[in-house]
Structures are given as C-alpha cells and as structure tokens.
Symmetry: C2
Subunit: 593 residues, 2 copies
Amino acid sequence: MMSTSEKLTLLRKALHEHGIDTFIIPSSGPHLGEDPPDHWQIIKWLTGFTGSAATVVITDSFAGLWTDSRYFLQAERQLAGSGIEFIRPEFNQRTDYLDFICINTPQGGSIGIDGRIFSVTEYRKLEKRIKNRKITVKPDCDLISALWIDRPLLPFSFAFDHNIKFSGKERQAKINEVRDEMRKRSADFHLLTSNDDIMWLLNIRGNDLKYSPLLLSYALVGEEQILLFIDENKIPVNLAAEFDKLGIVMLPYEDLSEITVPVTKRSAVLLNPGTTSINLYKSISKGSGIIEDISIPTRLKARKNKIEIENIGSIMIKDGVALTRLFFWFDSNFGKLRMTENSVSEKLIGFRSEQKDFLEASFATIVAFNENSALPHYKPEEGAEMEIGDRGLLLIDSGGQYLGGTSDITRTIPVGIPSVRQKKDFTLILKGHINLATAKFPHGTMGYQLDTLARSAMWESGLNYSHGTGHGVGLCLNVHEGPQSISPACNRTVIEPGMLTSNEPAIYRDGEYGIRTENLLLCYEDEETEFGKFLKFDTVSLCYIDKSLIDKSLLDQKEIDWLNSYHSEVYNKLSPYLAEEEKLWLRDKTDPL
Amino acid sequence: MMSTSEKLTLLRKALHEHGIDTFIIPSSGPHLGEDPPDHWQIIKWLTGFTGSAATVVITDSFAGLWTDSRYFLQAERQLAGSGIEFIRPEFNQRTDYLDFICINTPQGGSIGIDGRIFSVTEYRKLEKRIKNRKITVKPDCDLISALWIDRPLLPFSFAFDHNIKFSGKERQAKINEVRDEMRKRSADFHLLTSNDDIMWLLNIRGNDLKYSPLLLSYALVGEEQILLFIDENKIPVNLAAEFDKLGIVMLPYEDLSEITVPVTKRSAVLLNPGTTSINLYKSISKGSGIIEDISIPTRLKARKNKIEIENIGSIMIKDGVALTRLFFWFDSNFGKLRMTENSVSEKLIGFRSEQKDFLEASFATIVAFNENSALPHYKPEEGAEMEIGDRGLLLIDSGGQYLGGTSDITRTIPVGIPSVRQKKDFTLILKGHINLATAKFPHGTMGYQLDTLARSAMWESGLNYSHGTGHGVGLCLNVHEGPQSISPACNRTVIEPGMLTSNEPAIYRDGEYGIRTENLLLCYEDEETEFGKFLKFDTVSLCYIDKSLIDKSLLDQKEIDWLNSYHSEVYNKLSPYLAEEEKLWLRDKTDPL
C-alpha cells in the first residue's frame, strides 16, 4: 500500500506530464452528492481524510485540503503527518480554495479538473475567479485512474420495488406529476443526475451505496419516454417489464452518449447545475436550451404525502423501541460489562435490526465518549475506539433505513455524575431545541429565518455551534436531503407542510465533550388568519431526553411542560412494545421533570 | 395640467414613433437611490403614485405599476381611476415586472429604457430574462423630456462643511482609508455614484434633496486625484481651496464624459452595479477592468466612530425632548384644540426646530390616525388629512436631520380607551421589539438571522408584518442607509459594532389601524468567549412607550424589567431639559409598569 507521500509524488509527476499547474480534486462522484461509492472516494484514498465534503488542491509545491466546519477537528487529526495541509479558514475569511488557486496559479498557467466529477456551479465559480488572469482550465484530466491500483469497482446490487404501501403514490402518477411541472416550466426534457430523485420517481430501491438504498443511475424524462441509464443487470425481470409499459427505456449506465439523442436545438432541458457535471452539461447544452433549477423530484419528494406521514409515525415507534432497548441495556450493564464505542454501536444496530422492515443504518453510527463527542462527525477508528469510562458524556447519533422511512436521532447521556457546566450546556441546547420545535411561523418562511430560534438561548451565554441546525430527511433514500435546510446559509427554499427536517443544536468543547440533542420535525398547517397561513412542527422522533442532564432552574414553565408532554407521548407510544422491566425503566425516564 | 390619461396617450405615441413595444420607467434618478429630486420623479408626474420605490411598464395596450409591500395599500388608493393598473403580487408569486415584460413583449420586439436611470444590476436581470426571445433592448430612450412640460429643474443649494466635531474624522484620513481599501482590492479607481458616499468622504453637506442634506455629485477616486463631478457654483471658495489642496478636481455635474479620462485598459475600477447606471457602466467598462462590490464608503460609514457615537447620544436627547414636548402638548390640548394629522405634524417639526443644530425632517413625517395608520408610509394628502377624533390610535413616525446625526422613531399612542385587541397587538409588537433590542449574537451574524426575533411573539398569534424590521441609518445623510438590514431578505452584510439600525416591528389591520414601535439600535461588542466575539445592541432613541397600550399579563418579568429600565433612562436623560410640568408628566409616563 502506497503512502500518501508516495501517491503525492506520483500525482505531481502526472501533473507535470500533463502540463498542469494546479489540480483540483472534489469529494464527489459523477452524481455530485455526498458520500459517493468507494470507487470515487479519491480524497479518502489519497489523503486518509474521511469527511463527506472536501476539496483538495495539488500543485508542485503545495497540497492542501479544505472542508466545512463539521470536519475541522477531524481534518486536523486525520491529515496530521500526511503531507497534505488542512486549511482552516480564519474567522470571516473570504478566501477559500478558489481564492487560493487564483493567487497561486501563475498567469498563463493551467488548472486541471476531472469534468466528470466537477459540477457546473463549481466550474462557473472557478471561471469567474480566474477571469482576466489568462489561466486555462483543462476539463478532462483524469490523473487518478492510472495511479490508483486496486481501485474499488463500481458497486453492484439488485433493484427492488418500493411498494405503494410505502411510497403512497404509483410510478405513473409520479411521472405525470413531474411532466405537469415540466410543462409549467416549458421544459421538454428533465435531466436527473441524483440517484435519490430517480429512486423516488420509479419507486425502486437498491443497495449500491452504504447507508443509502439507491442504485447508480441517470435519467432523462421526456414527454413520452424516459431514458434510464442503469446497469440493466440490476433490474429484475418483473420491474423491467413494468418499466417497459411505462415508456422507460434502459440504456447502459457507463455510456451517456445517447442522452443527447432526443434533445434538439428547439427543446429546453431542465437540470440542476449544482448536481450536473460540467462534462454532461456541455454535451447536452451543445444541442438544446437549458433551464436551470432544483430538480422537480427533489421539490416534490420533500413534501411527504399522507401515506408516507403515517409510515413515518410507525417507523419512529420502531426506532424509538430500538433506542430505548439500547439505553436500557446500557444502564443495566454499565459497570458489569466492558463497553466500548464500537460495542455500543453494534448493540444498537442489533436492536434496530430486530425491527420489521429495517434495512441498514442510515449513516455511520456515531458513538462518542467524552472528548470524542466534541467532533460532530466522529467515527471510532479501527482499534482506536474508546472504552466507555466511568464518568463523562456519551453522545449517540444514529439512524436507520426502513422500508418507507428513515430515522436520524441524537441523544447525549451522562455516565456518572455530570458537571454543572455539562448540565448548563445541555439545558441551553434543550431550550434552543424546544424553541425551534414549538415555533409557529407564516407560510413563506425560509429555514434561515428559523435557525436563530435554536441558538438564541445559548447565544445569551456566549455559546454557539458552527454547523447548521437542520437538514431535510429522505424516506428510505438519503438521510441528508434537500431542498430545505435550517441553517444560517441563504437557502431560499420555503419550509412547506409535509417537509421532514432535523432539529439538532449542539455545543462542542474541544478536548472535553460535545452535546447534541436531535429529533426530526414534520411540518404541518396550523391555522390561517387574515395575515396568511401559519405552520408548525410535529416532533416525530420518540426517545427520552435524559433528565439528569437538565438544570431545571434554567427552563421556564412552557419548556418544562413541553418536555413532560413529549415524555408522556414517548412513554405512551413505545411502552406497548416493551418488556415489563423496559417499561418500568422508561416510566422513570419519562416521569415529569 | 394634463391628466394621467393624456400623458399616457402622448407617451404611447412616442413609443410608437420610436418603434418601442415596451417602455420601462424606474423610480430612481441617475444616482439610483430612493427619492430622487423632483426633476426625476417621473412616476409621480405620470401616475400620481408617491411611493419611493416602483416600476412602471407601458405598452400600447397596458400600463401597470409594481411596488413593494410598504406601498400596496397606498398604490391601490393613489392609482385608482388613473388608467395605470396596480399589480399586486399573489402570495409567493414568482412573477414580477420582468416576467410580465418577457411574456408580453412579442418575439423580435423591443424594450425601451432610459439607460441613465437604469442600474446595471437591473439591466442584467432584464437581459437574462429575455434571453433566447430575440427581443432587443434600446438603452437610450428618453421619451419623457419632450412630454414633461414644466419639468422641475435640478435642485441648487450651497455646500457647507460638516465639521470634524461632527464627522469625527478628517477628509484626508477618510480618503486615505478609502485608498487603503482600494489597494487591498487591487482597484486603481473607485467610482462613487451615491451622493451620501461622496458627502461622507468629503465631510460636506448641502440641501439638494428634501430630507437628505446632500449635493448631487459623482466622484472617481484615484490613487493621486479625485474627480468630483458637481456644479462648482455650489462650492464656496474656502471649500474649493481645501479640495484643491486635497487633489480634488471639480468637473461639471452634467457632463460625465471626462470620467473615463484617467482609466486605462490596464486599470481596474471598483463600482457597485446596483447604484451605477448602465450607460455610465458601459462608458467606463469600454476602457478598463471592473471590480464589483458595495462601495467602500458605504461599508466604512456604516460603522460609526467614537465621536459620531457620542454625538448620537446627544442628538437622541434633543430629539427625545422634542417628542416629549409634542406628546405633552397633545395630551394637554386634546379635546380643547381642533387637531388634525397635519397640525400635529407641524407642531412636531416646530419642537424639533427648537433644538440646536436641527436642519430639517429626515423624511416626510407620518402622523396617521386610525385607519390611516394601517398604511405603513401614509402621508396626509393636501386637504384630505384626517382630524384626530376622540377614540382610536395615533401613529407618529418622524425624524430629524441634525448636524452630526439623524433620528427616526415611531410611537403609537391611544386616543381615548384602547380596545383589548389593540392592547394585545401593541404588546406583541413590544415583545418582538424587546426581543431584538436585547439580543446577544456572535460576530458574523447577518441581519436576516435577527429579523425573526422581532416576529416570533406575534407569529404565535397568527400575526405578521410584511416589511423588514430594520434599516441602517446615516448620520446627517440618508435616513435609510445600507449596507446592513434586519429583514427576511438574504442581505449577507454582517452586523458590525458601530452600526446604527432601526428596530420597527408592526401590525397593520387594513381599514382599522396600524401600530408600530420603533427605536434605533447601536451595535457594540459585549464579550469574547472561546466561541468567538459576541455583540449586543444599545437602544439609543429616547421616548416613552405608552403603558396604557400594554397588556401587562402578556409580558414576562425580563420584558417588564427592560421597559422599566428603558423608561428610567428616558426620564433621567430627558428631564434636565424639560419644564416642570413636562417633567411631572414624563415621570408619570415612565413610572414602573
């Protein structure tokens, strides 16, 4: 196995041979989402960094990695001694990797990218930044394939039907709905490059990606036909026959050349430049007009239908039961059994696996003890995971993919007696969490207007967290889903009824501990007044929140009432499925504060 | 005097003669701000609409006006029967005047604009929208001058020095600071098209615009020289001599041709495309590179310096005294004197005029009784203003320009006994106002993250207001100033220490009443923790908030404490300047709730 240093040397040799001054490596694959299959995990192969979003820039004298605030501490750790520099932005620093490239690529120099894995949006930013500097971009630089010996193959898994009792809407109905929207936008074709969009549209699932039951695919939706680019060996005969009836034509996944066949100079193709590669975009736009927007399936699937909402309810009970069993096991066995972060993680997967229709974890389970919990996306490394000691905080962020739904939930529990400051931090987070969970807001409100509600209590004490407050959640698709988000970033997506979004404020004290309390929120219509429609959230996740970490004196009566009411709901919904001792234990955990 | 209908007919004739299908009339003048001089108030001349922001579109069969939510009710009233249609957007409707133009201008048709009063930003939006439709834009269509008989001339007033004891920084120091910033941005020249930027930079003021003590001017700042385009007859000899020493060259205001003389193909000009006309932009960009950003003076002047902050303090006392006298006079004379909206307005101007260094009102005083107060920017019309009856709500939004500072403050007072609902509305607004006024937030926070704090209390009751919460305030410049704002709009300007911003939540019940409570907030650094710097606001406006409109049962203890503390400060700061009976009266108004 080559070291990072050896790989870098070879890579720089390739740069030189290709006449490239600066080489940019994104963390995405050709579908431009987070967490591509191993075949496309170039940054992980090259640098050892395992965060899901990063950019690496290589020149003959520099090698650096940029990432977002979820992974700052992780990047520092994983890149230490690798020869790749972690570039941490200064407060409010306006420079990012594009600024670096602009400054450090000589006039008349050239920048190399692999246009298959570089989005149109990012490409335009690059072009704009290098304007007037006589720098060329070479968009077809695959410098990695020749070097990456033993590169993993693309994944293979079988497609299965995501039954109507889970999807709540037939394939044909979804296709019609997408075509209706296309017509409203005057789009003759709609390019889909996000696998989850295609899975949702066709009511199928697969197993190509760890944690997301998707199949690698592209689609071009037209008025009459749908071109589906997928390895047809993945499609069982019955599904293939169904597709045929629906006018879906299957073409090879690895050859997109026929994607331009139906489009003409007079047609308009709707696509999302953020999830379309520059190479694909160039070939399509050569022959037709382009309309740019978030994809129609992304918008439609964000608003869960009635059947989906019912399923979410039953899945949250199953998931809550699994978590309750895990925490009961932990409480009952702590001090008697040796426990490590991994052993707790495995136990939790075990409890979830017992639940009907459970498929797999929805993301790599985070079980983090003490200082490990200060890393928002900590994952115990092989052989390096911590034993659960006798005092501290244990943060567990986990979730499951079930047929028809997905969970994502975080609880932080004390081991031994918590400190005063831990209780204060926990309670400030809880206040923020409740403030967002109980918000009422006019239809038209965007996530960035709600984000502050989760922060204002802790801001009063000079505390903050540097990630967003909430992300959309797909149903048996991607646990992180757009288009909405609840974060300080200017995401102009309106929060709509039916949207499922996480609520996860936190505090991280580097080297000490981190606390996060996360539930999922389902948006619904509350009332209509002369000032418009008003919406609220339903908290759908069901798991007790540890009272021994709460400083009751910091809560007001409304917050205490919310907690007691939530706990009462947790008990009532979960207890029918619990064993007697589990019930008693949960009763105590959910008794009024 | 021609009627609107006659003007429209003539205008349509001109459209036809010039081969124009669609003519766009913005509400701005060549400096592209709000409220241009009368010479440029084309929309007001044509349609009778007096709001400060609008767009009119004329075709041979259509004439319509678009404006923002501040003016919806006003537009409906003022345009009724004019022949110009007020186009009110549907909820969340994505169409605006650009969409209309796109749909209603025939393929191959042409759109006429006067490129002197159309911004680059707006022009680009237009170009983008009409792409692929073979529509031409004719950028040099002045169709108005020939029709507007008796068009007002451009204003004339004399410049005066805005003394260092008011500005806190010498001209040369400001010019150096701007040049430092230009160097950081690699800008050889900086184009200034906003009059307030130029006034601030040169520490001068004038009287060309009603309510803003500015002089019509343009400037091009270079490393060595500044070209100042201004009517030199406005500049007294001593100032002219000063300018000469500082390397400021005066050139005629109405002839910008020499603005391109110093710039070369190798130089870069920094300008703001939102405040630069497309015509000016085209002539400059022909010969040089362009860097686009908010202007440097706009960013620098937003953060008030120590002297300015001290002056704000004393101006708020003077302004508070004037308001207190007005409300005392009102209370003492109501029922004894006939009072109208205008007579109250005049009385208030009178009280402000008594204050040292008062120049003029900072905007048209809003005195609105009962249903008139439901219009956010109501102005009593000549002969149509209302008498103050014996029961209802009186909303007064007023402000003054003083040497060294500016006020903008709104109070709503009851006349007779207020209704339960009026008290509830008033109190929900007050809760929002206090929530924003007492906010603590990390440095890096943007206004749109704070806007919700002013709304969440009223959202709980299904209420909202459709304008922003706060705007920046200039000091003896424009009462509405950027770059920051506190509003749902994605303005990415960070709220910085030294910024002066209004806090004005409200509720408007069409046909009944409106309530608004506005103070100005000065941002300051509070503490620094391991999570960064945290900022807070100081409420600088000083005027009692009417307790008889407060429903105390809706306030929590913190809010009651804030009000009592604020009132105590109001009394302590203003009473030294009040007559005995005024003091007694204010004591009662500011006693603890």
